[in-house]
Amino acid sequence: MTQLNRLNGGLISRGSPLNFTFDGKEYAGYQGDTLASALLANGVRLMGRSFKYHRPRGVIASGSEEPNALVELRTRGRQEPNTRATVTELFGGLSARSQNRFPSLKHDFMAINDRLSNFLSAGFYYKTFMWPAPLWEKLYEPIIRKAAGLGSVSLDPDPDTYEHGYLHCDLLIVGSGPAGLAAALTAARAGARVVLAEEDFEMGGRLIAESSSFVNQSGAEWVAGVLEELGALPNVRLMKRATVHGAYDHGTYGVVERVADHLAEPPAGTPRQIHWRIYARKAVLCAGATERPIAFENNDRPGIMLAGAVRAYVNRWAAAPAQTVAVFTNNDDGHRTAKDLLAKDVNVSAVIDVRHDAPDVDGAELFKGAQVVDSTGKLGLESVKLRLSNGEIRTIDCGALAVSGGWNPNVHLTCHQRGRPIWDDEIAAFVPDTKLPVGLSVAGAANGVFSTAAALKTGMKTAKKALLDLDIQAPTVALPEAEDSAMNLKPFWFVKEGRGRAWLDYQNDVTVKDVRLAHQEGYKSPEHLKRYTTLGMATDQGKTANVLGLAVMSEMTGASIPETGTTIFRPPYTPIALGTLAGSTTGRHLAPTRKTPSHVWAQELGAEFVEAGNWLRARWFKKPGEKTWQETVNREVTTVRSRVGLCDVSTLGKIDVQGTDAAEFLNKVYANAFAKLPVGKTRYGLMLREDGIVYDDGTAARLAEDHFVVTTTTANAVLVYRNMEFARQCLWPELDVQLISTTEAWAQYAVAGPRSRDLLRKIVDAEFDISNEAFPFMACGEITVCGGFKARLFRISFSGELAYEIAVPRRYGDALIRALMAAGEEFGVAPYGTEALDVLRIEKGHAIGNELNGTTTALNLGLGKMVNRKKDCIGQVLSTREELADPEGLRLVGFKPVNRTDKIVGGAHLMNKDEPTDIKNDQGYITSAGFSATLGHSIAIGFLKNGSGRIGELVRAVNPLQESEIEVEVVSAHFVDPEGDRLRA
């Protein structure tokens, strides 16, 4: 494998050869190569097809601004489309493929689009596919989607991991060119905490791409020395392969570090990429500048490249873009390219300079005042056609053309908080606005300062000033003697000659003609131009195209470029993989998993778990021989109704309410009265929103005159606590009340069923009398269990049976549930899960979230009398609104199927028997339904208009989604023990 365009020198490791494939063909490169440099060294110029016209395309740039050389990397789950070959670090075994072509890169059927270009101009979508409208979704869009786009994804899961990280520093330096390194040296020697982020895999920026940055040493030598010093300092963090993609509020910067993209696959345990959030007290943007091309007819052939990129390939990567190269420039930088090529013995067939006063060139023919007007070559450049200053046409053979139209400062990060770049006539480019993100300053080429000497100096000065603002005195750093030449640019944007297409935005196939068309059709504002033509909207965000587009528009309008305007840049600076944004917050780690105190025990019993909020709760405890979950739940329900059952209810919110005004406070946050609740008693309570809707229910147990324990539903634990804190701090700050959440601290179990007292007597220490007389329904108290362990006992019942809730410090929860199970064996105890809990409460007509659904009032729930009108409380006034107080409104009632074998479905809507099924006749809806093991048939509760006045009536429960309906009888919501005798037993 001969690398026919490989030159001598460069910064590649020739001792580390690497093999890779491109479109299945094997090539060789070296450690230190990019995919683009290695392909060029191997004589490969054709790397892709353009987005719209499927034109043959090759590499243009040498960095992240590359619009053309987009490839697909790797395979299967690691397949990554639209990756720039210019920033793809070569590794052994790399598999890369071109995209957007069929069947091959050389022979692409869709290249027919190029012949149809007259029909595919800007805005053709909008004009062509307007009618007939129904065809858009069914025909046009699928076809366009198939034809458009570039690479493809494999749809296999990504096997790699991603991580998020957070860093803090005094000074963040973005970019490690001359300005960045000078700033880093200055800050590092001052002892400041420095982060230096470089998107390349080598530090140095243009210093490692140029041949003559310094007078007495090479750029690479100086960079190596600086890095050695910085690397040894504990206050400096050097981050290469790290792209600062955005400047966010308060000095926060987003950075993507590609930890393992340069490896075939990440080593075990190593994330592929890390998304860093860097909190910087100050930041200096030293992101350099991006060269811009000059547009001319057929300027997109493989081999036509930016002149600075050609220098980078030649100097850094020792790769010539072709055996013979021509240069087309409007400034002295182009001459530098010619010089470097000649120094590497590459044939320079011509230097075409639009300036009539261009400096002389040694070793190549110079055409002053000339322009390139066209190019030839089917799959790669073969020649360029010149219009000389005397009007003569000349054809020059070349395999590559190095084009330099000047440089645009990389102002992107300065725009991320609405900063609008301002025009600088001197360099014919936009420079950063003076209104920058807080703490950010700009140095070097990013600020329009292009010589190495000036970049070094401004880097140091800017860092010193930034540090001074932090009261850090930085020393003056001795900087090396560096080149300090002017660019001598003559603004020249596009060649006006020719009737063919001249490309501005290579990635989106936007040409000079498209901009002219936009102008012709009235889309003159840069924002309209962008959206009409898609100029600057591709993955490269128009880094090489935007200013050219504006220049063409400016030509059309007759206004100057700054008068024409500019678009600003948004984050991210370069594309970010979605996996990187997600980090490790995926799958089961998307949210925390809260485990109950009995989790280990429940697992041992083989419980099936269900997510309730972030909690994992046991859903049921299947026993051997039980074939269906319904069978298990029926058994658990029957156990509670006939013997005794245990259920972990630790997930209910628990709020410790203390203070001399605790009772008065609760009186205000609950709809019903709490002021006179005696010590040792618990009361059920409703909490209303300000608008009178019920949002939570629970209990409050009074443990002392100044001490209550409030319980909430599992789902609303945080909301209730937050609302109570708001009430405490903002509504009634004069009250002496203190709140603490204790949800986590206690293991709490429901002990429910006729034998619950018998069971508890074996657990509760003997000195505590829990007889019905001493500890009646709704009693509460602090007790001890199992020989002195502190506990709390509440005689409350969700199931409607004789029941208690017993709580111990969480650490003893596992032991207590095991002790309860052992003690209850003689009474036939069984654990029950949330499904049985649900059936039990439906049988009793108790509301949960299904009924407290954000639309229902206490009156709807049949609890209207609980809203105490004699006291002030949250929501009381608005609950009396006419519509909410409608006596004929929805009421919570029960339902039984007329045909007892029918199943009532939750969510079914209720219709009168003889009326049509429509919204107009809607009578209400089923909120909760289940199979009652106690009654032996399906039951439900729900809201029915004037429900309490319609007991005994038959209505239809319709389920249009499943096209079913059944007849149901309206009954009391209390299916079991409506008088409450059992729970008071």
Partner: protein, 194 residues
């Protein structure tokens, strides 16, 4: 007489201990905690009682103070968390209530939290993958509240070189530990990759 054997927040009988290069992660399970909120207008009263009986100055914002085995850190306005060695048969909350009387509300928090101690030279670095706190800027006796693995946690700087504690909600102890383990592995692997 029955007995109740405690389990740790991670569901084991003994605290978890893990060793990484330059880092030890140790679950702390022998501390009792109570929260103390001063009653209205009783701050001074509370301070003097705590100072007199416990020889402890109530810490200011983001601070914790230690006196022998006894410690306290600030959690919110007029609110502190006290911690002391755990005693299964003696309730810290009761003891504290006896000291502060009606000057403060006292709530037992012992079992509401899990706690992990990080020690070793890498105990600072690991935080870069855990939370947004600039841990290297913390000095001994500072405490901050932050999010770790989606969860509100306290980070205490016990010794600048190098001992920190993370106190998080007990129900998510496994997730907090997972975050610590994953961060320790990431730190180690990234260092090797660099």
């Amino acid at each position: 007489m029955l007995d109740l054997n405690p389990i740790t927040p991670l569901g084991a009988t003994t605290p978890q201990q893990e060793q990484y290069e330059g880092l030890t992660i140790g679950e702390v399970f022998d501390r009792a905690m109570v929260s103390i909120s001063s009653r209205h207008g009783r701050n001074q009263d509370l301070m003097s009682r705590v100072s007199e009986k416990l020889d402890l100055k109530l810490p200011g914002v983001s601070e914790f103070t230690v006196n022998g085995d006894f410690g306290a850190f600030w959690t919110a306005s007029d609110q502190w968390m006290f911690d002391a060695p755990h005693d299964a048969k003696s309730c810290l909350a009761v003891k504290i209530k006896e000291i502060v009387g009606d000057a403060a509300s006292v709530t037992d928090q012992t079992d509401g939290w899990c706690r992990f101690r990080l020690s070793g030279p890498q105990s600072v670095e690991i935080f870069q993958f855990l939370c947004t706190v600039d841990v290297s800027a913390l000095v001994q006796g500072q405490v901050v509240k932050t999010l770790i693995e989606h969860t509100g946690c306290f980070v205490l700087c016990r010794e600048e070189v190098f001992e920190y504690e993370i106190i998080g909600p007990v129900s998510v102890a496994s997730d907090v530990l997972h975050a610590l383990q994953a961060s320790a592995r990431t730190l180690s692997s990234v260092r090797k990759a660099q």
